[in-house]
Amino acid sequence: MMEFINFYLIPGLALGSIYALGAIGISMIFGILRFAHFAHGDVMTLGAYGTLTAVWTLGLHPLLALPVGIVFAVLSVLAVDKVFYKPLRELPTIYTVIASFGVALIFRSLIQLVWGSQNEVFIRGVQKPVVLFDLLRVSLLHLEAIAIIVGVAIALHYFLSRTQTGRSMRAVSDNAELARVAGLDTEKVVRATWIIGGSLAAIAGVLAGLDTNIQPNLGWNLILPMFAAAILGGIGKPMGALLGGMVIGLVEELSSYPWLTDEPLINPSYKTATAFLMMVILLIFRPQGLLKGRLF
C-alpha cells in the first residue's frame, strides 16, 4: 500500500501537475486563438533555461529564480506571437499550427546555440526524500508540484469565471470578430492568454527540470502527453485540461502497477501508449472531453 502511494500515486500526481500546467496553456491558446500550439513545450524549456541562468548568475534557489524564467518565457512568446502568429490570424488556423511548429524549431535551435545541448541540472546530487513515519517517502519537489497545481486551479477558476478579462477571453474564443464589434480589445485578450499560458509553461518547465534535468528537448518531449491532456479535458476548457493533465500523469504511472498479478499491469515500455490509448478511448465515447458542459 505504502509502495503504491510512494512510488506510483505521488509521482503520478507530480508528473500530472507538470502535464497539467502545460496543458492549461495549450487549452487556453486553443480556445482563444483556435490553434494547437506546438511550440508550447519549448516555451517550457525556455522557462527552465531562463530560470537556470538566474540560478547561475544570481545564485538563487530555482524556485526563487522562477520569476526570471517566467518573465523570460512570457516575453519570448509575446514576441513570437507578434512577429509570427499575428500576421496569420486572419487565415485558417492551420497556418498558425504550422507556424508554431516552425517556432518550436526556432526556439530549440536558439536554446542550443545559446546554452548548448548538454544536460544541465539545477541542483547537483540526489535530493533526500521526505520520510514520514518511516512509511511515506516522497520527494519534497513532488509535494511542491502538487501544491502549485492546487493553487493554480483555484486562481484560474476564479480568474476565468469572475474577472472581466476571463470572460472576455471566453467571448473572444467564441467569436473573435463579434468580440471586436462588441468593443473588446481582442489583442489584449490574446496577450493575457499568452501571459498566463507562458507563465504556467515556465513553471512546468522548471518543475520538470528540477525533477530530472534540463536539456533542449525537455519540453518537446512532453508536448504529446500535454496535448492528450488538453484533449482529455475538452479542448478550450482550461480547468478540464488541468484535470486531464492529472489523469494522464496518473494513468502513465499507475498503468504499470501490479494491479492483478505480481507483474505490472502493462509493460512499462508502453507507458506513453497507455496515455494515448486512454485519450483515444475517451474521444470515442466522450468526444466533448472528460468534463461535461462548460468548464472554461
Binding site: F84, G102, Y270
Partner: protein, 322 residues
C-alpha cells in the same frame, strides 16, 4: 564542384522529394479535399514501410517475414495494410471534429510506433530490418542504381498525381469538399457523410503507406525512428500548407520547395566560417524555422492556392463577380 557528384546529389534529393510528394498528395486528399485533420501520417507511413520491408526482405531469424517477394507486391501490400489501418482508425474516430481527429490520429500513430519498437518478434524492435531490396536490383551497380530508383519513384508520383487529380475533378471530389465545408448540409442533401470521410481517409492512408514502402526500399534499412513525427507528419503538413492545400500541383511544389529548404540549408551552413562549425547544425535548424515562417507569411494561401476544378461545360465561367 564535381558535376557528376551534383547529378547524383540531385538524384538523391529528388528521390526523397518524390516520396514526400506522395505523402503530400495523400494528405491533400485527406485535408485539402476532405478536411480531415490527420496528424498521424507517420503511423500509416510506418505501417506501409514495415509491410513492404517484411515481405520483400531476406529471411532473418530476428523478425517476422523475410519472404523475398517482388518489390511491387510489397508496395501494393503496403497500400493495402496502410489502407486497412486507415479504415480501422477511421471506423473508430472519423466522427470526431477536426482537432479531436488530429489528436486521436497522433495518439494512434504513437501507439503504432510503440508497438513497432516493442514487438521485437515482429519488427526486430529498435534494431530494425536490414537487407531490404530495391526494384530492378542488380540491373545497375553502385550509385547509378539510384537513377533507376528515382525513375521508379517519380512514375509512382505521376500515377498518384493522376489519381488524385481525377478524384478532385469529379462529383466525388466536389461532394467531398462539400462535406468538408458543412456536414449537416451535406447530410441534408443526401450525402452519406461518414462514408465519404471514410473513403477519403482510407485512400489517403493507403497512399501514405506507398510512400512509406518506397522509403524503406530507398534506405534498404528500416528502424522505428522512421516514424519520427517531426520528419514525417509535421514536415508533410508544412509542405502541403506551403504548397497550397486543395491543389495537387501545389502539393508537389510544396514538397519540392520545403524539402529543398530542409536539405539545402545544410550546404549553406556548412560554408560558415570555422568558428561556427560546431554550431552550424543549430544555425541550420534556426534557418529552416525562419524560412518556414517566411514561406507561410509570404505565400498565404500556399504557392498555388486552391481552385475549384470548374464545371467542364460551364462556358461562361469567367463572368464572375456580377
Amino acid at each position: 564542384m564535381d558535376p557528376v557528384g551534383l547529378l547524383f546529389f540531385l538524384v538523391g534529393f529528388l528521390i526523397m522529394a518524390g516520396i514526400y510528394a506522395i505523402l503530400c498528395l495523400a494528405l491533400n486528399v485527406q485535408w485539402g479535399y476532405g478536411g480531415l485533420f490527420n496528424a498521424g501520417i507517420a503511423g500509416f507511413f510506418a505501417v506501409g514501410a514495415y509491410t513492404s520491408a517484411l515481405l520483400t526482405a531476406a529471411p532473418a531469424p530476428t523478425h517476422l517475414g523475410g519472404f523475398e517477394l517482388p518489390v511491387l507486391v510489397g508496395i501494393i501490400a503496403a497500400a493495402v495494410t496502410a489502407g486497412l489501418t486507415g479504415w480501422a482508425v477511421a471506423k473508430i474516430c472519423i466522427r470526431l471534429k477536426s482537432d479531436y481527429l488530429a489528436m486521436a490520429s497522433i495518439g494512434i500513430a504513437e501507439i503504432l510506433r510503440m508497438v513497432i519498437v516493442n514487438e521485437d518478434w515482429l519488427t526486430n524492435g529498435s534494431l530494425g530490418i536490414t537487407n531490404i531490396p530495391r526494384p530492378f536490383d542488380g540491373l545497375l551497380q553502385g550509385r547509378e542504381a539510384d537513377i533507376l530508383f528515382l525513375a521508379f519513384v517519380w512514375v509512382i508520383v505521376a500515377i498518384v498525381y493522376l489519381v488524385c487529380n481525377r478524384l478532385y475533378d469529379s462529383p466525388w471530389g466536389r461532394t467531398l469538399r462539400a462535406v468538408r465545408d458543412n456536414e449537416d448540409a451535406a447530410r441534408a442533401v443526401g450525402k452519406d457523410v461518414d462514408s465519404f470521410r471514410l473513403q477519403t481517409f482510407v485512400i489517403g492512408a493507403a497512399l501514405m503507406g506507398v510512400a512509406g514502402a518506397l522509403s524503406a526500399h530507398y534506405f534498404r534499412f528500416l528502424s522505428p525512428e522512421a516514424t519520427e513525427p517531426l520528419l514525417i507528419t509535421f514536415l508533410v503538413w508544412v509542405m502541403l500548407m506551403a504548397g497550397g492545400s486543395g491543389n495537387n500541383k501545389g502539393a508537389i511544389i510544396g514538397a519540392l520547395s520545403v524539402w529543398a529548404i530542409w536539405s539545402l540549408t545544410e550546404i549553406v551552413t556548412n560554408r560558415l566560417p570555422a568558428e561556427f562549425a560546431t554550431r552550424s547544425s543549430y544555425i541550420r535548424m534556426l534557418l529552416i524555422g525562419l524560412l518556414l515562417q517566411f514561406v507561410l507569411q509570404k505565400y498565404r494561401s500556399g504557392l498555388l492556392p486552391e481552385r475549384s476544378p470548374g464545371i467542364a461545360f460551364d462556358k461562361d465561367k469567367d463572368k464572375t463577380h456580377g
